[in-house]
């Protein structure tokens, strides 16, 4: 299907500062300066996708029902400052956002602060220059920053997730500017996260729609239980959507040193999830007191007030991956709730 009938504007200037004003007049952008998406620049962005139809519809993005083709994705990638080597990641991410379990309409429209977190796995990390080490959530790396930013620009421009009309987020979030991180496979004692989800391709991505990272600090423990008890405590705050929505997932981004402590005691990735499932619990009566409206699994409603209930309904909902560099800070990324993560191979 050929859709190369995209609107082209003839702006009366190529002055970068004046262009920013013209972008703003059209309602484009995230508030930061952008690069003008000239046809020449867009063609260069598409150059590595040679052989792929630039006007194939990759996804239809709600709430605007905007059609995301490779060309439209490339246009926004240019504006965000991406390099062409990042385009396959971005195309894959947009395809993944279209998965029904993501529930993108809800993610974009809710009053919650949710943003899609894009996690990069495998060879593409080094090929496209993503940072999986020190400061992996940013700032300071072009690939992480601009891929995350381009994804947000596509949500703004194509999906129509504009604050006020397509995005009702009460406070917004810094994660809505750019939210992209790479997995530190070199320092992961458990191999790659994507493989643990059954995706064994050389490169893959995961999308998890959640909050910004909640820090977990443990400088002193050589016992996995003591580290993970702190992780569990970060999973148990009443303010998270996970508290009343039992299907919600958690992503636990362990730093290499915390992961190493767990692995050195023989704990697997699944052991970490199982431990956290058993420790990240609250009193059922307190949960009922805190939330009149609870999206619990049917069996959970039968629990007594004196029972304990996990913050998520099964251990498989606790997803563990390794990212970051030296130091002893990990993070917990709670879910928006009514969404499920997706892990898929990178495809141009």
């Amino acid at each position: 299907m050929n859709l190369d009938n995209l609107e082209i504007f003839d702006f009366p200037t190529d002055n970068p500062a004046e262009l920013q004003s013209l972008f703003a007049e059209h309602g484009w952008g995230d508030g930061l300066p952008m690069i003008a998406p000239t046809p020449e620049r867009v063609q260069k962005m598409l150059a590595l996708s040679d052989g792929e139809d630039p006007d194939e519809i990759i996804a239809t993005l709600p709430p605007r029902s905007g059609l995301a083709t490779r060309r439209i994705i490339a246009i926004n990638a240019v504006m965000a400052g991406c390099a062409p080597s990042q385009l396959p990641v971005l195309v894959t991410a947009i395809r993944a956002l279209n998965a029904p379990e993501i529930n993108l309409r809800g993610v974009n429209a809710t009053t919650h602060s949710v943003a899609p977190l894009l996690i990069i796995h495998g060879n593409i990390i080094k090929e496209a220059g993503y940072n999986s080490g020190l400061g992996s959530f940013g700032p300071g790396n072009r690939a992480n920053a601009t891929t995350g930013r381009a994804l947000r620009l596509i949500l703004l421009h194509v999906a129509g997730a504009t604050p006020g009309t397509g995005d009702a987020s009460t406070q917004g979030s810094p994660a809505k500017y750019a939210y992209c991180v790479a997995e530190n496979l070199d320092d992961s004692p458990w191999g790659g996260y994507a493989s643990s989800e059954g995706v064994h391709d050389e490169s893959a991505i995961t999308i998890h729609c959640g909050e910004g990272p909640h820090n977990v600090h443990d400088m002193e423990s050589s016992d996995p239980a003591k580290i993970l008890d702190k992780v569990a405590s970060a999973m148990c705050s009443w303010g998270q959507n996970n508290a009343p929505i039992s299907q919600g997932e958690y992503f636990v981004a362990l730093c290499p040193e915390h992961a190493s402590v767990c692995a050195s005691h023989g704990w697997t990735r699944n052991d970490v999830s199982s431990y956290l499932f058993n420790k990240a619990t609250v009193n059922v009566g307190d949960a009922r007191e805190a939330f009149e409206l609870r999206a619990w699994a049917p069996w959970q409603h039968s629990l007594k007030d004196s029972d304990r209930i996990s913050m998520t309904e099964k251990p498989e909902n606790i997803k563990v991956f390794v990212t970051g560099g030296p130091g002893k800070h990990s993070s917990v990324i709670p879910s928006w709730g009514m969404t499920k993560s997706v892990t898929v191979p990178v495809m141009p």
Binding site: L3, N5, L6, E7, I8, F9, D10, F11, P12, T13, D14, L19, H26, W28, A36, P37, T38, P39, V42, I57, T60, R64, S65, G66, L67, A68, T69, R71, I72, I75, N76, M79, N103, R105, G106, T110, T111, L153, H157, V158, A168, T170, E292, L293, A295, W336, G337, M338
Partner: protein, 91 residues
Amino acid sequence: MKIYSPTGNIGEPQKSLASPASVLNGKAIGILDNTKPNANILLQRLALRLHERTGVNIGITETKNAALAAPDQVLGRLTKEVQIALTGSAD
């Protein structure tokens, strides 16, 4: 300087609202409670007021998750039972 618009095309036409019913008397009104806090109270009282003022009959109440589209079965029951539905309450 020629530049592309970053918004692209729209895949399906925007949905438009149904025309409002000119007469409510004799019709049935249903409630699709999206389970936001107090939505049930707001919608039921609104239905009651409409009944008192216009004679409209109050029909079934269905519920849905606020973050998800209403299931087809729910929409099917409403379509079958009522001509008008009250729905929607934000945070």
